[in-house]
C-alpha cells in the first residue's frame, strides 16, 4: 500500500470550493496571529514592529487619505499594465513570425529587463517630469518582459497536427492565426499577465519613491522620514491587498474567458 501513502489524501478539505476559500483565510489569520503574539510576548516597540491592531487603528485614523493614495497607485498600476499588453503582445506576435527579428530583438529585451528598475526611476523623472507618466512607464517596463516572453512562447506552442489540419482545410493565414494560433496561446499569455500584474504593483511603488507627491509608495517613503512605522505597515498592507485582488481578478477573467484551459493544468 505504498501508493496510498504517497498520494495526497482527498477529502472535503482538498475538494470542496468552500474549503478553497476558507483555507487561505485560515492561513492568513494564523500568520497575523503569530505576528500579534510576537509583538505582545516580546513587548516590541511600535516604531520597530507595530501590532496588527495598531495598523488597523492607523488605517481608521485617516481612511479617506489612505484609500485615495491607494486609488492613485491602483490607477498607475492598471494603466501601465494595460499599456504593457497593448505594446508587448503585438511585439511578441511580430517577433515569432520571423527568426531574424527574434534574434535581433531578444538580447535587447533581455538587456532592458536586466536593468535594475530602481536605477532608472530618477531618470524617468528627469525625462518625463513629476506627473503620472514616469510612474506608468515604470509599471510598463516591469510588466513588459513577462508578457512578451509568455506570448511568444504561447504562439510557438501550437501543436503541429492542428497546424496541418488548418492547412488541409485550405485555411488562409489570417484564419490560421485567429482561429488557431492566437486562441491556442491564450492560456500561456494569461500566465504572463499573472506574473506581470504582481510586478506592476511593485513598479508603481518604486516609481512613487522618486519625485512623487502621491501614491502608497510616497506614503511609505514619508513615513520613513518621520519614523511612523505603523503608517508604513498600513500602506504595505493596502499594497498587498491590491496585489492579491488584481491577481485573482485575472484568475477569474481567465476562468470566464478560457473555460477549456482548466483541464490542461
Amino acid at each position: 500500500m505504498t501508493t496510498r501513502r504517497r498520494m495526497p489524501k482527498r477529502t472535503w478539505l482538498t475538494d470542496s470550493p468552500v474549503a478553497a476559500v476558507v483555507l487561505p483565510i485560515i492561513g492568513l489569520a494564523a500568520a497575523i496571529g503569530l505576528w500579534w503574539g510576537a509583538t505582545v510576548a516580546f513587548s516590541i516597540q511600535p516604531y520597530l514592529l507595530p501590532s496588527p491592531w495598531d495598523v488597523v487603528v492607523k488605517f481608521f485614523e485617516q481612511p479617506g487619505y489612505l484609500l485615495q493614495e491607494t486609488g492613485t497607485s491602483l490607477l498607475e498600476t492598471i494603466e501601465g499594465f494595460l499599456l504593457a499588453i497593448v505594446i508587448g503582445v503585438p511585439i511578441a506576435l511580430v517577433i515569432v513570425r520571423s527568426v531574424i527579428l527574434e534574434r535581433l530583438a531578444y538580447p535587447l529585451l533581455l538587456m532592458v529587463n536586466s536593468i535594475p528598475k530602481v536605477a532608472i526611476a530618477p531618470l524617468l523623472v528627469i525625462w518625463m517630469g513629476f506627473g503620472q507618466w514616469p510612474k506608468v512607464v515604470m509599471v510598463l517596463l516591469m510588466c513588459f518582459f513577462p508578457i512578451v516572453i509568455s506570448t511568444a512562447q504561447g504562439m510557438k506552442s501550437t501543436p503541429t497536427e492542428l497546424v496541418e489540419l488548418m492547412r488541409s482545410l485550405n485555411a488562409s493565414r489570417a484564419q490560421e492565426f485567429f482561429k488557431l494560433r492566437l486562441r491556442y496561446a491564450m492560456p500561456q499569455i494569461f500566465t504572463g499577465f499573472k506574473v506581470a500584474i504582481s510586478l506592476a504593483v511593485i513598479g508603481s511603488v518604486i516609481s512613487e519613491f522618486v519625485g512623487a507627491t502621491k501614491g502608497l509608495g510616497y506614503v511609505i517613503q514619508q513615513s520613513g522620514a518621520s519614523a511612523d512605522t505603523t503608517l508604513a505597515f498600513a500602506a504595505i498592507t493596502l499594497l498587498s491587498v491590491m496585489s492579491i485582488v488584481l491577481f485573482y481578478a485575472l484568475v477569474l477573467l481567465e476562468h470566464w474567458l478560457l473555460p477549456w484551459a482548466q483541464e490542461k493544468r
Binding site: 489540419l165 488541409s168 482545410l169 485550405n170 485555411a171 482561429k179 488557431l180 477549456w260 483541464e263
Partner: protein, 273 residues
C-alpha cells in the same frame, strides 16, 4: 479518382538526402477503399500528404479527379492519427470547422450543414454530446468527432493517416467496423494508412504493401471477402487467415527479397538493418 505516376519524394536530412518514396504508380478507382500498409518509416504517411496536397512531390505527378494536385482541395478531407480537435470548441463547432473556414463557397446554407453535423454525430453515436468540450470526451469519442469533421463537406476522397492507432484495441475494432458501415452508405473513395494487418483486411478492397527506406510498392493485394466484414467469428475465417498470412509474409520479407515465414510476427527492429 486518384492517380500517382512515378511519384518520388526526397527529403533533405541532416546527413544528406533521404529518399522517402520511390517510383510509386497507383490508381485508386472512385469509391474504392485502399489501405497502405508498411513498417514505420516506409513513407506511407508521406504518400498520403502528397495526395492531400500538403506536400509537393519531388518527382512524378499526383492527380485527383483528373486534375493535378497543387494544394489542399475542398473535396478531399484528411483525418489524422490524433483527433486534432480545437480544445475551446464544442463538439458541434469542431465538426463545423471546415464549413466555417470555407465560408462563401458552401453550396448549402450553414443551417443545412449544422443539420448534417448533427446527423453525422448521431451516426457515430454521439447524439447529446454536441455542446461538450473535447477534454470531456474519451479518446475514442474524440476520434469519432474527428471522423464527423472529415465527413461534413461530403468529400469525394478521404485520406486517413492511422486514425485509430492511438486507441485501445476494443475501441479500434469498434471504430473500424463503424467506418466500414459509413463507407457502405457513402460512396467516398478512401485511402487509409495503417500498420495493422487486421485493420487492412477488415477495411480494404485493395491493400498496397510498401517496403521501407526507400518506400516502394512491394505488392498490391486484392481482398475479395464480401462485406460487411467483421472481426472475430465470421463466415470467411479461411480467407481472412490466408490473406493475413500473405500480408505478414510480405511485410516480414527482408529487403534482399528473402521471404519470411508466413504468419510469423517479428519484432519490427529485428528486421531493420
Amino acid at each position: 479518382m486518384i492517380r500517382l505516376d512515378g511519384v518520388g519524394q526526397v527529403f533533405d536530412g541532416r546527413e544528406g538526402q533521404v529518399t522517402a518514396l520511390e517510383k510509386i504508380d497507383l490508381h485508386v478507382r472512385g469509391g474504392e477503399f485502399v489501405t497502405l500498409i508498411g513498417r514505420s518509416g516506409c513513407g506511407k504517411s508521406t504518400l498520403l500528404r502528397l495526395i492531400a496536397g500538403l506536400l509537393p512531390p519531388t518527382s512524378g505527378a499526383v492527380q485527383v479527379a483528373g486534375q493535378p494536385v497543387t494544394g489542399p482541395r475542398r473535396d478531399v478531407s484528411f483525418m489524422f492519427q490524433r483527433p486534432a480537435l480545437l480544445p475551446w470548441r464544442s463538439v458541434l463547432s469542431n465538426v463545423m470547422l471546415p464549413v466555417e473556414i470555407d465560408k462563401g463557397q458552401g453550396d448549402r446554407g450553414k443551417a443545412a450543414y449544422r443539420d448534417r453535423a448533427r446527423q453525422l454525430l448521431e451516426l457515430v453515436g454521439l447524439q447529446g454530446f454536441e455542446r461538450r468540450l473535447p477534454h470531456e470526451l474519451s479518446g475514442g469519442m474524440q476520434q469519432r468527432v474527428s471522423l464527423c469533421r472529415s465527413l461534413i463537406r461530403d468529400p469525394q476522397v478521404m485520406l486517413m493517416d492511422e486514425p485509430f492507432s492511438a486507441l485501445d484495441a476494443l475501441t479500434r475494432t469498434e471504430l473500424s467496423e463503424e467506418l466500414q458501415r459509413i463507407k457502405m452508405e457513402l460512396s467516398t473513395t478512401i485511402v487509409f494508412v495503417t500498420h495493422s494487418i487486421e485493420e487492412a483486411v477488415l477495411l480494404a478492397d485493395r491493400v498496397v504493401v510498401l517496403t521501407p527506406r526507400p518506400g516502394r510498392m512491394r505488392e498490391v493485394v486484392d481482398i475479395d471477402i464480401p462485406r460487411p466484414r467483421s472481426l472475430g467469428q465470421n463466415a470467411h475465417l479461411t480467407e481472412v487467415a490466408a490473406i493475413s498470412g500473405r500480408l505478414h509474409a510480405l511485410l516480414a520479407e527482408k529487403e534482399s527479397g528473402e521471404p519470411g515465414v508466413p504468419g510469423e510476427v517479428r519484432p519490427v527492429d529485428e528486421v531493420r538493418p
